[in-house]
Subunit: 488 residues, 2 copies
């Protein structure tokens, strides 16, 4: 049997059984309607920016994944940190759950109102508060999106590199510890968030972290909130590192004779220390979907998308080194994108890979795995996963930030067909078990939400108890996005 | 008055008064002797590796700073994670404080037994457990020192870059969120610790983090423990990122006509994005001390020490760029160190800067400031500090990891002379107030211990309350290195 091939036979079978049992325990508790006094308070505070309309609630209960909509009881559209604090204070008085909402582009049911409550939509908090070019940092409100920020920075010579597929809000990206294609060089939100303003579950506004590039002044609350998914407080402002736009940028696409050849090229690139800015893998099925969606004509083969940043001489040197490594693996050659327009076309196609997969099936919804493993295990992890997928009737594709050891299997399912969802889950459970057996993680960048909670016990063991203690200490009434990350 | 010159007049005066008042509240509570039952348990467990000898206790109560020795009641020399767990379990049963000890080279009284208790010395836990060259990571016991690790790695082509002045233990460096001269390129312990084994205050062994290069799987406990100074648990094993030894390394020393010229060169280097590996500032008095201590003959001027890492071509390009920037500031020229021996001599001299300053005064003890500010404020911060120091009779020098905005004023004081300690404190308080007014931090890399606790309220405000909640949640009996970072 295949399980044995990744060295986790009986443990693997046990893992799958346990996950199935845990999943069958429904997470939704009975819901009370919102207290009339709270509705009155919030309506008085926000006027038309407080809504209980069904369409508004439905829209705020569903993300971009297959997870079913679980709408909140009301949506509060905040315009400032002070308004968020007032909303939280009002909800806290009634112990009503609070779910922060940015662009709704997460993938693990992060915004599902499992126990009802009030969704705080921060998308109108979209002011870029201060750009400090001399310090290469910026402070934004949580609703600013990554594309909005980069458009604003255009004339400064600086950019913000973290780029999940969606044009997500920077508050949401902070909350999910997002990354994307540039993380191999520039890090994830973990490395690029300097400071935050958060509203605590008691409604207090607290500033955490600072603009100094390093500090040993106490517990690292910034990193605690990065990835906390709204469960410890509402992020309302974010101070981010910026990076200089490189003097020279070149991108290239290179098909390989096999998955193994492509991924081995990645491993060699990382081990030899070439500071690639981007190194992304797409399998042949993903390339076909991308070609159809973005009107491109890439060869239907396992493919790497590259980008190189630096001075012209340094970029030329990096390119030579990586071309040599690719040639060693039998790659035919690089197809270059040198002008900004060509590069933009290439990376837009890459960012739209999830949507390209969705477009292969009318009415389909996406289900994405997100494992990340130590780089030495990446080739076998992807190769074994490919074998699993080849035996399934589902449409699947693979795309990944392979320089970090992170890849996604995208399953396209009919949300009305339980058998398809079950099949995707079965395959995803195997992928996660394999990654954990290889010292990896169940989620490299999407986060836990409620979709991946069942895996955390196997990944973290007793450390999960430490997470529960922190959650209880900071949110004793469990009103901040309850039912996500940890069960209390 | 000078305070006004950094835009914090009345707030500054208030800050200094408050700090003085807080400092006068003594931190030491009355101490009970160790319970006989606990002594019996630990003696039975450890035999001769459990000591209550005065000399052993004294040695474990004092770090390398001016802080007076506050010895523990006993010292337990552990050899394994399991032994640490047994010691903690025994102490916890009696609510006896536990103080972890690596090499005792910290600088803010981190190891002072403010409330007595048992010091756990992990220096014999010095096994390098597993080097994984293909993943560029390593797992070590907490007592392994940074030099021991690099000596062990010599044949792998890999190295561990974080280098505080002392040859500290990697457990201690994790606990204080240490950095050093390479942080400008390779990050601090925050960026280089992947996973930990810790013993909780209940005596349980918990593994936190993982070897995947990124993960969004729940709260970032790894970063919470990095910098926690033994207050949340005892770190017993550390998994660290390693880096490839660059193909080409060159170092250089360059004197400047003024402090401003030197620091402005640093700022330009960072802003232009040259990936320098090291860029260190020493003022003229520090150069004189280094010359005397390390038998060197550098010009007595504000000086930068540089190091460049990369391919030969890329290093040559970086050198050209930085030489141009230095020439713009009137620097006379670079003095090169190309052979490993020359480089070693240069950097050993730099690492010994603290000891070189100590050697200027027989019987003197060191007191080091450690502020870190956003890079745009660095020149004015150092220049104003220089003016302060010029008006003091104390021996002082300045040395700093200026690429990060971090610098140290080293005060050499007679520990028996309260007036000297008071003068150093007065100057340090001004330096911290100035850094905080510039959006900086009171400690870039040394940590809080009990020496810097009084500054945290001004730096963190309400966030300090969040830190207290976390401490109480994870260590409800306040037995883990009590009296450090936060007061409960």
């Amino acid at each position: 049997m295949r399980a044995a091939s990744f060295g986790a036979g009986p443990a693997f079978a046990f893992f799958l059984t346990k996950v199935a049992v845990m999943r069958s325990l429904s997470q939704s508790a009975p819901r009370d309607p919102l207290p009339a006094a709270l509705v009155g308070t919030l309506a008085a505070l926000l006027g038309e920016r407080f809504s209980t309309a069904t369409a508004v609630r439905e829209q705020h209960g569903r993300d971009e994944s297959y997870h079913p909509s679980m709408p909140p009881d009301a949506v509060a559209f905040a315009r400032s940190t002070e308004e968020v604090a007032a909303i939280v204070t009002a909800c806290a008085a009634h112990k009503v759950p609070i779910i922060p909402f940015g662009t709704g582009t997460s993938l693990e049911g992060h915004i599902a109102a499992l126990r009802g409550g009030v969704c705080i939509d921060v998308s109108a908090m979209n002011a870029i508060l201060e750009v400090r070019p001399a310090d290469m940092d910026v402070t934004v409100q949580a609703g600013v999106t990554r594309k909005q920020l980069n458009a604003h920075l255009r004339d400064t010579g600086l950019f913000f590199p973290i780029d999940p597929g969606a044009d997500a809000s920077l508050g949401g990206m902070t909350a999910t510890r997002a990354s994307g294609t540039n993380a191999v060089r520039y890090g994830t939100m973990r490395e690029n968030v300097l400071a935050l303003s958060v509203v605590t579950p008691e409604g207090r506004v607290v500033k955490i972290g600072g603009r100094a590039r390093k500090s040993s002044a106490g517990y690292d609350l910034t990193r605690l909130f990065v990835g906390s998914e709204g469960t410890l407080g509402v992020i309302t402002e974010v101070t981010l590192r910026l990076h200089g736009i490189p003097e020279k940028i070149v991108s290239a696409v290179c098909p390989f004779p096999s998955v193994r050849a492509a991924v081995d090229t990645v491993i060699a690139t990382i081990q030899i220390g070439v500071p690639v800015a981007r190194i992304e893998f797409l399998n042949a099925r993903q390339i076909l979907a991308v070609n159809a969606y973005s009107k491109l004509d890439y060869a239907a083969a396992p493919t790497l998308f590259f980008e190189f940043h630096g001075t012209p001489d340094h970029v030329a040197e990096q390119v030579r080194m990586v071309q040599d490594l690719a040639a060693d693996q039998g790659a035919a050659g690089f197809r270059w994108a040198e002008t900004p327009e060509e590069r933009d076309r290439l990376w837009t196609a890459r960012h739209n890979a999830f949507y390209a997969s969705l477009a292969t099936k009318a009415g389909g919804r996406g289900f994405s795995s997100d494992v990340c493993v130590p780089i030495s295990r990446l080739t076998e992890c992807i190769a074994q996963t490919e074998e699993d997928l080849a035996r399934s009737a589902l449409f699947t594709s693979i795309v990944g930030h392979v320089g970090d050891g992170n890849f996604h299997v995208i399953f396209i399912v009919d949300p009305e067909n339980p058998a398809e969802i079950e099949e995707a889950r079965r395959l995803n459970d195997r992928i996660v078990a394999r990654a954990l057996a290889m010292d990896g993680t169940c989620t490299g960048e999407h986060g836990v939400g409620h979709g991946k909670m069942d895996f955390l016990e196997d990944e973290h063991g007793e450390a999960l108890d430490m997470m529960r203690k922190i959650k209880r200490a900071l949110d004793p009434d469990d009103i901040m996005n309850p039912g996500k990350i940890v069960r209390l």
